[in-house]
């Protein structure tokens, strides 16, 4: 039997109750109560993950320049809406319907079926729509990762088209291999809340996009010189990071997929603590390393460090001890401090550090699972990382290339110079600040 992200819920819920019949002490939660709690966990944790869309929007609007700020805001709210629609149209079923150890689910709209529960059979474990809601906010996260990396030069509509394909097809197929009960699940690959399935998938899409799109004009000058283009509003970037940190309790905690037994809530509480401490480790490590390397502490690196810690723990937030969680996060934080300038030296222009944070730490986190989880093997983890990486890199590269060859993905040089806000939106994010038009 495949341990899929969906079946497992049902298994857990049934398990708790089932066990109860033989072990009275554990049979105390009525099935319907468990059903309510499981569903409510999806909803509460789901709204926390939903709010991560705001976190990404603020992080990214803080790290771009003023002339592209309104555009990145628009991309973030639009992609959240579009990802949800596509996940309804194709994504959910491709991810979860009939994968059966294979490589893809089935085509078709999602639809809720709560008939059994309404008739008094609660063995399904949760309300159908609560599960869908929780799964849907994950796909939006994947899409959010891409927007930051490609900011300041990608055109709005091609980006949204890519988002639709990523949310409706590429992410669900990759996810189906494990969460949907596909071949990676059979192999024993472990990715609790998606270091690989969500974050690396987003990271690969960002990487291929960044390569095919090219760097911002003026970012890398002849002679290997790198020209920083500082983010315009760092308090907003800080706010965005805090919102992401908050949302991650939903992301990882909710991925327990059940709240209907003491064992579940104990697991969720452990996950909250580990998630928090990995982020703490990430921020402290990033600060210490920048202080050592540069003699100053870069706020944007500290923020990236916190998120790096969060991404790193996401593949296995349930098993590490608290000090190991700190360590896993700290390694993530350090990796980011090294990866950001490395990508710059490779002339891969990632405006917000999304590739370093989500791809690099997503890989690290996935490989770190065996440190505390005896069910996970290093080679299996590596297989999952490579297989999903290869598939997503190839698929997204093809999509980007086709978009580039057909409708084009990059704005004109002039649009880049005046900024996407004016070129594509016809307005300014801050008309009364800086060079804004409303001052004079």
């Amino acid at each position: 039997m495949a341990f899929t992200r969906k079946l497992w819920i049902a298994a857990a819920a049934i398990g708790a109750v089932g066990l109860g019949t033989t072990a009275p002490a554990q049979a105390q939660v009525a099935e319907e109560t468990a059903f309510i709690l499981n569903s409510f966990s999806f909803l509460v944790h789901g709204f926390l993950v939903m709010f991560m869309a705001a976190g990404f929007a603020m992080l990214e609007s803080g790290l771009v320049r003023t002339k592209n700020t309104a555009a990145i805001c628009l991309k973030n709210i639009a992609l959240y809406g579009i990802a949800g629609i596509l996940f309804y149209l194709t994504g959910y079923n491709l991810l979860y319907a009939g994968v059966d150890g294979g490589v893809i689910g089935s085509l078709g709209f999602w639809s809720a079926d709560d008939a059994a529960a309404l008739a008094g059979d609660f063995s399904g474990g949760y309300a159908a729509a609560s599960d869908w809601f929780f799964q849907m906010v994950f796909v939006a996260t994947t899409a959010s990762i891409v927007s930051g990396a490609l900011a300041e030069r990608i055109r709005l509509w091609p980006f949204l088209l890519f988002t639709a394909l990523l949310s409706g097809f590429i992410y669900p197929i990759a996810g189906s291999w494990q969460w949907g009960g596909g071949w990676l699940a059979e192999l024993g690959f472990v990715d609790f809340a998606g270091s690989t399935i969500v974050h690396s998938v987003g990271g690969w899409a960002a990487l291929t996009g960044a390569i095919l799109l090219g760097a911002r004009k003026g970012k890398y000058t002849a002679g290997g010189h790198i020209n920083p283009m500082p983010g315009a509003n760092l308090p907003l970037a800080t706010l965005g990071t805090f919102i992401l940190w908050l949302g991650w309790f939903g992301f990882n905690g909710g991925s327990q997929l059940a709240l209907g037994s003491a064992a579940d809530v104990i697991a969720i509480a452990t996950i909250y603590v580990n998630t928090n401490m990995a982020a703490a480790g990430g921020v402290v490590a990033a600060m210490a390393l920048t202080q050592i390397l540069h003699g100053k502490v870069d706020l944007t690196m500290a923020l990236n460090g916190a998120i790096a810690g969060l991404v790193s723990i996401t593949a296995g937030p349930d098993t590490p001890s608290l000090p190991l969680a700190i360590a896993i996060g700290a390694v993530g934080g350090a990796l980011v401090v090294l990866a950001v300038p490395m990508f710059d030296r490779l002339r891969i222009d990632d405006v917000v550090g999304a590739i370093s944070v989500h791809l690099v730490c997503g890989i690290w986190g996935t490989l770190a699972v065996p440190l505390s989880n005896p069910d996970a093997g290093f080679l299996t983890q590596l297989t999952g990382v490579v297989a999903i990486g290869a598939f997503v890199a190839a698929a997204t590269a093809i999509v980007w290339a086709v978009l580039k060859a057909t409708i084009g993905i990059r704005c004109s040089e002039e649009a880049e110079m005046i900024g996407l806000d004016q070129a594509e939106l016809g307005l300014e994010a801050y008309p009364e600040f800086g060079r804004g038009s409303q001052m004079i």
Binding site: Q422, G426, R435, S437
Partner: protein, 112 residues
């Protein structure tokens, strides 16, 4: 001495600065300004209403130079700042009577 006021497009500033250094200018003072001229501002739309932005971002440079340098400086700016497209800006030359370096009290050409 001359005080040269140059109004140029913002993204040309770095090239103009390099050109000035090349001809031997040691200092420049720059301000953000908005220009109105033959170049027409773009039309924007805000919440369904069109409007025109009349003033366009420019930077203005104040450069004090010895008389001997003035012509070369004007030429250098013009060469560096021109794109050939409308709105490239203007260079104005004023007579400068005195100059003082605040730090030392040095005056006139020694102050530049």
């Amino acid at each position: 001495m001359k005080l040269i006021l140059a109004i140029v497009k913002p993204f040309k500033l770095d090239e103009v600065r390099d050109a000035l250094i090349a001809v031997g200018v040691h200092g420049v003072t720059v301000s953000e300004v908005k220009g109105f001229g033959r170049q027409r501002g773009q039309t924007e739309i805000y919440r369904g209403t069109e409007y025109r932005v009349h003033f366009l971002p420019k930077v203005m440079l104040h450069i004090a130079v010895p008389d001997s340098l003035a012509d070369r400086v004007v030429e250098a700016i013009q060469a560096a700042a021109a794109t050939g497209r409308i709105g490239d800006g203007k260079i104005f030359v004023l007579d400068l009577m005195h100059a003082v370096r605040v730090r030392t009290g040095e005056i006139d050409e020694a102050a530049l």
